[in-house]
Each structure stands twice: as structure tokens, then as C-alpha cells.
């Protein structure tokens, strides 16, 4: 069930709201009902995977209880290793096998496995809680509340990667408390804005770019067709930001405020700024649970601390790339961003201050160019796109690229969607409600063509 699917928008979501409306006056039912709804949502793709989800929740919760009862760190370490092992098996087993087979020049094992949806996200949720429990920052939670933290359906598949400290206290709160109307209005606005980003900005780009990237797999991309391929950065931005906005909106309808994930990243004036505004929750996770430990662990002499710091930065970004997919192109994409972050850090420390406009232009060009590697699927395909940039597109083709130009203008000029929503819902203006209502119908009409694109981030 996709957020941009009739099954979700016209059946699951309204039905869930009605069910939750009945549960809301009864505090003891709220969490249980949301857990059941979340499991129903998750089981829509593959009912068998709810066994994995339920098992994952139970084992991690028991490990947390074990740690709290005995204070033995082995419970936490073992649980994290098991989480990463499960994630590694589902996501990287064939990648490792293929690489070993290439190295030893003979075929090895190949698992015919499907990646359980959202496994990366619920694994990271477990890790955040368990690490903070070990650090003494996280308290003990009941199984029901913990199950909801992992499975809460607006965020379980592709984030935002909410920390336990951001959402746990909100679970079980009365959604229909006084003032709920404003919260609902904000939620509805987030949903409509998110669907606009997905349906009117990202999907048209997908239809335009998919044939170009398909051509790049088979050979050179000629006649200036490579230029539109750079628009993938806008596609993935509005695809994922749109998804997150719908998730945030749906969360609000159930009384839970999820963290924001994007903050107009393509308006950043340097790459460090960009990574603080793009997929914010993942980057915060990587900063706190990967980069900081790697950077702060005492290895070697003090004078090498700077080298260690930058090595940690590079490694974190390479891992960020690998997290996006079991392919060397993702690792390369992450490593390139890691290198660029090191250069930007050094420049900011030792170099002259760049004008903001130049910094913005350099950042945008770098992001647009590296997104080609992210999307192309292979280095050869990416190189075919890059070589094709030597030819300029003709005017007729440029006119057909209107979706790219519109998306680019939105990405470069508009504020973050949460700021747009805040502006639209500052006061209860019925004219805005009417326009949003009509926009919702227009989106449903667009989605009625039944060829809606899946959200790009589902594969991660």
C-alpha cells in the first residue's frame, strides 16, 4: 500500500481514522489499536513479513529487558549484531557473494530473497533505542509502546527516522484533545503538499528520465539527452520529501508529530549545510551512532586526530552510500560526498570565504552531477551520461523538459515544505482550505491513471 495509492488514501486511511476515533476516548486502547493498524498496513505487501517484524520487535524488547535486569552489555551488543546480521543478510548477502565470485572467478551462492520493506528503517530504530539504553539515556518501555515505535505505519517503511525520544511520549496521547482541529488541518495540508510534490513534481520527472537512464545502460546518450538526466536530484528530492510530508501529515492525524526530514536542501550554500538539510533524520543517526563513535574513539597519537576525524567522515559517507543499496555505485556516490565534505571542511577552516551565490552554485552542481551515479546503476551507465553532457540539448528538447525546469525552480526558490505548511495554516483561512480541497481532488484524478510511481526510497 503506497501513500499515493487509492487503497491507502480512500480505504485504509479513512477506515483507520474512524477506528481510531472510537479508540481515542479509551487511553488503554490507543496504542494497541495503532499497533494493529500498523501491522495491517505492513502486511499489505507481504503478510509473511509481519512475522519478521513481530519477531524483531519481541527479540529487541526482550534484549532491552535483559539488559535492564542484569546490566550486562552483552544483551545490547548481541542484539545490535543480530539486527545488523539480519539486515546484512537480506540486503547484502548477494552483493557479497557476487563480489567474492568475481574475486575468485567462480560462481558462489545466490539467495533468492526479497528485501522486507522498511527493514533498514526498523533496524535503525532498534539500534537508536538500544544504544541510548546502554548509554543510560533511554528508559524502559512496555512491549506495546515499543512495538508502536518500531511499526508506527506512517514512518515504518521509509522514515522519517524518528528517535525514541521524539515520539515515545506522544504515543497513547489523546489525538482528539481540545484544538485537534488545527492539528488535523496541518496534517491534511502536509498530506496534500506531499502528494503535490510526489505527483506533480517527482513523477513527471521519472517519466522523463527513466528512458534516458535506460538508454545509458545500453550505450552512449547522444543529442544532448544527458542534460535532463541531471534532473534526477530534483526527482529524488520531491519524491522522498513528498513521502515524508505525507508521513508527517498522517502522523498528525493520529496525534503524533514526526520529525522533519528536509529543509530546502538545494538552497544550501555549502555541502555541509546540504547534508544538514537533506534526509535530516538519517544524517543525524549517522552522525550520532557512526561518525561520532568513529571520530571520538582513541586510536593513535593525538596529532593524528584530524586525520581520524576526516577518515571517520569519509567512512560514514561511504557507509551512507552502501546503506542506499548493495552496489559499488552507491559506495562511490557516498565516498565522493565524503571526500567533498572533507574538502569543504578544510576550505572552511583554511580557505577564503566564498560568496554565498558561488557556494550555492558549486554545491548544486556537485549534487546534481553525483546524483547521476546514484541513479545510473553502473559506472558505465553514469559515464555514458557524463560523456553525453559534451553535447548541448536543442531548443525543442529543452521545451519538453518543462517538468525539470519547474522542479528546479521549486527546489531552488521555494522554502521547505514545513515552512509552506506553516504559512498556509497560520490562520484558519477557508479560501486556503477550499483550494487544498480542490487540489486533493485533482491529485486523486491524476492518481486515477493507476501508473503511479513507487516512492524511490522504498528500495532502501
Amino acid at each position: 500500500m503506497l501513500f499515493n495509492d487509492y487503497a491507502f488514501l480512500l480505504v485504509f486511511l479513512p477506515a483507520s481514522l474512524v477506528i481510531y476515533r472510537f479508540a481515542d476516548p479509551h487511553p488503554q486502547w490507543r496504542i494497541g489499536v495503532l499497533v494493529i493498524l500498523s501491522f495491517v498496513f505492513y502486511s499489505y505487501w507481504n503478510p509473511l513479513f509481519i512475522i519478521l517484524l513481530a519477531l524483531s520487535i519481541t527479540v529487541n524488547w526482550l534484549a532491552a529487558r535483559g539488559y535492564l535486569a542484569t546490566k550486562r552489555g552483552g544483551f545490547i551488543t548481541g542484539s545490535i549484531v543480530a539486527n545488523l546480521a539480519v539486515l546484512g543478510f537480506f540486503k547484502y548477502a548477494n552483493f557479497v557473494s557476487d563480489n567474492l565470485a568475481y574475486l575468485f572467478e567462480r560462481p558462489l551462492w545466490h539467495f533468492n530473497i526479497a528485501l522486507p520493506l522498511g527493514i533498514s528503517f526498523f533496524t535503525f530504530h532498534h539500534i537508536m533505542y538500544l544504544v541510548d539504553l546502554r548509554r543510560g539515556k533511554a528508559p524502559d518501555y512496555s512491549l506495546g509502546r515499543y512495538a508502536l515505535y518500531i511499526s508506527f505505519f506512517p514512518q515504518s517503511i521509509a522514515g522519517p527516522l524518528a528517535r525514541w525520544s521524539e515520539v515515545m511520549h506522544q504515543f497513547g496521547r489523546q489525538a482528539y484533545a481540545p484544538g485537534w482541529q488545527r492539528q488535523f488541518a496541518v496534517g491534511v495540508t502536509f498530506i496534500v503538499i506531499g502528494l503535490i510534490e510526489k505527483t506533480w513534481l517527482a513523477d513527471p520527472l521519472g517519466r522523463l528520465l527513466d528512458p534516458i537512464y535506460a538508454q545509458a545502460i545500453h550505450g552512449p546518450v547522444t543529442n544532448g539527452n544527458s542534460w535532463p538526466a541531471l534532473g534526477f536530484a530534483f526527482q529524488v528530492l520531491f519524491d522522498f520529501a513528498g513521502y515524508c510530508d505525507v508521513a508527517i501529515g498522517v502522523g498528525l492525524l493520529f496525534g503524533v508529530q514526526l520529525p522533519y526530514n528536509f529543509n530546502a536542501p538545494l538552497r544550501s550554500t555549502n555541502l555541509q549545510d546540504f547534508w544538514q538539510r537533506w534526509h535530516i533524520t538519517l544524517m543525524t543517526f549517522l552522525r550520532d551512532y557512526v561518525f561520532m563513535p568513529l571520530s571520538n574513539v582513541k586510536i593513535g597519537r593525538k596529532r593524528y586526530r584530524l586525520v581520524q576525524h576526516f577518515s571517520a567522515m569519509l567512512l560514514t559517507m561511504a557507509l551512507c552510500g552502501l546503506w542506499h543499496g548493495a552496489s559499488w555505485t552507491f559506495v562511490l556516490w557516498g565516498a565522493l560526498h565524503g571526500c567533498a565534505l572533507v574538502i569543504v571542511s578544510l576550505w572552511r577552516r583554511y580557505g577564503p570565504r566564498l560568496p554565498a551565490l558561488l557556494g550555492w552554485a558549486l554545491t548544486a552542481i556537485f549534487v546534481l552531477l553525483t546524483c547521476v551515479i546514484f541513479r545510473a546503476g553502473s559506472l558505465e551507465a553514469a559515464m555514458n551520461i557524463y560523456r553525453g553532457l559534451a553535447e548541448l540539448p536543442d531548443l525543442e528538447r529543452s521545451l519538453r523538459s518543462a517538468p525539470i525546469i519547474i522542479a528546479a525552480l521549486c527546489a531552488f526558490l521555494l522554502p521547505a515544505s514545513q515552512d509552506i505548511v506553516a504559512g498556509l495554516t497560520e490562520r484558519p483561512k477557508t479560501a486556503i482550505a477550499a483550494v487544498l480541497g480542490l487540489a486533493a481532488v485533482a491529485i486523486l484524478v491524476e492518481l486515477g491513471d493507476r501508473d503511479a510511481y513507487e516512492f524511490v526510497y522504498f528500495q532502501f
Binding site: Q181, R182, L252, T430, L436, L438, A440, V445
Partner: protein, 332 residues
């Protein structure tokens, strides 16, 4: 974002939510009202303002309108390999009123749906000409389709049809239909004829025949689930003459005699011939043969798509079949 409000604000936000829901509901109702009034695909389920003519250019969807047009009493079914059969020629030769209901890129499953649609909307159909190219010889009982097809459009259920009209594609068709009604658009050909030779392909050069020997392995089973389904359909319309046509292809690409493919094709042709054996004014015409017409590459646009001279000869044979049944010729 601060979400707290005062109680008076709560009422205003309540009105905000009510406005949002009312406008969304109103917008949706208006769209449904429009599609019910106009009937974007002219399926006959709705369309209370009664716009006449075909505003659609794609045969996949336009044939819903053509297939129920009472001015026609006979139809040609199939895919692009039947496209060049001219309804006007067939009508002149037979005295019947023919319409072209072929749809490029379709197979048996879609064509049987079209057959049912035509028969359902014609209490007295005079003839069915079905171009049964080798896709009818498949052995997969699921009858796979190779291109998207709007089965919902040819459904009996107005609800199923209505459920598909809430889309930008349907609204695009609606606009075209309104333009047609206002005289701002030229209607598409009512008889569905379209000459693919106008696409301007260059001269056809057949590939040289392969050197390796033909696969002579025996054909294990000769089951043709598509033909079985066609048999079921034909049995339900005993009074309608049926002409089955195996379309020609360039002779150099025909399966080599003695091979497995040739044996299977022969078995398929036999199954088709048996379907109409003894049926009045019906016949099986086999044009997939080695013949002076099929040996000449000038008669083909590509290996499977013949040109006008071949089509004219086929039309003659179809007309003869409708007159004398299988007492007439069965090939060129």
C-alpha cells in the same frame, strides 16, 4: 510548528476542515456528474447528453464506441495483421456493413472481449471475420496479454466502468468528446479503417533464412487454449457466419516443412478449420502459405504485415467464403 489553539480558533479550524472536505467532495461529485453526462469513451453506459461520433484515436478505447455502432452489422477482429482489410471493400463485395475492430498488439484474450462486445450490442450480427494469426496458437491457458488493455471499458458493469473514469486520461477523453459535440474536433473514421502503409516504411528486405537444420523434435501436445475459448464463443452464436483468417507472412520466414514449428502451425490451422467446418457461410482461410504473392517482398511492409494488393485478394476470398462457405477456395 506550534499546534496549540484557543477554543474560538478551534471552531474556525473546524470550519476550515469542513470547507476542505466539502470542496473535495464537491469537486469529486462534479467530475462524476460530468463523466456520467458525457461518457468520455462513448461506451453506452452513460452519456445522457448524447454526443455522436468517435472522438478517440486509439482503437483500444475507440472500438468500444465502434463496436456498438448500429450502422454496422459485420466486423473484422484481430491485431495489426488484420488492419489492412478494408471495411468498404468488404461491404461492397458482400452487401453487408463492415467495421474494422482490429487492435494492434492484442492477442486472443482481448479479441474475444471485442467479439463479445460486438455481439452483445448487435441483436442481429451478419458476419464475424476473425484474423487468427499465430498468437492464437499459444499453449498458455492464461492467455497472457502483451500490452495494457482496458478490459473495464468492455465490461457489462457500469460501476466498474465508472470506477475508471476518475482519472486524468478519462478527463482528457471527456474534453475531446465535448469538443466533438461543439464541432471543434473532426470525428475519427467511424469504420475504423487505417492504412499502416502511410507510416512510410522503406523497402522491406527479408532476413536470409537460417542455415541450421529445422528442429524436427515431435510436437508433444497440440492444445490450443485460445482456440478452445473461441470455440466456446462461436458455439454460443450459431446463426452468425464466421470466417477465420490465418494472415500471410513473407514466404521466406515460414516455418520450414518437416520442422517442429511447421508441425505446430499445421496443427493450429487444423484446429481453426475444425471450428467452422460445416457451419453455414463460414470458412477457414489459410493465407500463411508459400505462394507467388507471399514470395514477393514488394507485397510486404515487414515479415508479418502485407500491403494493399495482398489485402485486396484476401477481401475477395473472405467475401466468397461468406457467400458459399467452405465450398469456396481456402487460400489465395
Amino acid at each position: 510548528m506550534n499546534l496549540s489553539t484557543s477554543s474560538s480558533d478551534s471552531q474556525a479550524w473546524g470550519r476550515w476542515l469542513a470547507t476542505f472536505l466539502c470542496m473535495a467532495a464537491l469537486g469529486a461529485c462534479m467530475i462524476f456528474a460530468l463523466v456520467i453526462l458525457v461518457d468520455p469513451y462513448d461506451s453506452g453506459h452513460f452519456g445522457f447528453i448524447g454526443i455522436k461520433g468517435i472522438s478517440d484515436e486509439s482503437p483500444r478505447t475507440a472500438n468500444a464506441s465502434r463496436g456498438r455502432d448500429p450502422q454496422f452489422s459485420a466486423a473484422v477482429f484481430g491485431n495489426s495483421t488484420g488492419q489492412l482489410l478494408k471495411p468498404t471493400e468488404l461491404s461492397q463485395a458482400t452487401g453487408l456493413r463492415f467495421v474494422q475492430l482490429t487492435i494492434p498488439g492484442t492477442g486472443p484474450r482481448e479479441q474475444i472481449v471485442l467479439l463479445r462486445w460486438f455481439v452483445r450490442h448487435h441483436a442481429r450480427a451478419d458476419a464475424l471475420v476473425i484474423v487468427t494469426d499465430p498468437v492464437w496458437c499459444i499453449d498458455d491457458p492464461a492467455l497472457p496479454i502483451f500490452n495494457p488493455f482496458p478490459f473495464w471499458l468492455y465490461s457489462d458493469s457500469p460501476i466498474e466502468y465508472l470506477g475508471q473514469l476518475f482519472s486524468s486520461r478519462a478527463l482528457g477523453r471527456l474534453v475531446r468528446r465535448v469538443e466533438l459535440g461543439l464541432g471543434l474536433r473532426t470525428p475519427s473514421a467511424p469504420d475504423g479503417y487505417w492504412n499502416y502503409e502511410l507510416l512510410g516504411h522503406g523497402e522491406f528486405r527479408p532476413a536470409p533464412p537460417p542455415n541450421e537444420p529445422a528442429d524436427t523434435a515431435a510436437v508433444a501436445e497440440t492444445q490450443f487454449p485460445a482456440i478452445e475459448q473461441l470455440a466456446g464463443f462461436i458455439a454460443n452464436v450459431p446463426n452468425i457466419p464466421v470466417v477465420l483468417v490465418m494472415p500471410p507472412m513473407i514466404a521466406s520466414d515460414l516455418p520450414r516443412p518437416g520442422g517442429r514449428a511447421a508441425a505446430r502451425l499445421a496443427a493450429c490451422k487444423g484446429a481453426l478449420a475444425r471450428l467452422v467446418a460445416g457451419r453455414p457461410h463460414s470458412n477457414f482461410l489459410d493465407f500463411r502459405v508459400d505462394d507467388p504473392l507471399t514470395r514477393d517482398q514488394k507485397n510486404f511492409l515487414d515479415a508479418g504485415h502485407y500491403r494493399a494488393p495482398v489485402a485486396r485478394r484476401m477481401e475477395q476470398r473472405i467475401a466468397e467464403s461468406l457467400r458459399v462457405g467452405n465450398a469456396g477456395p481456402t487460400t489465395f
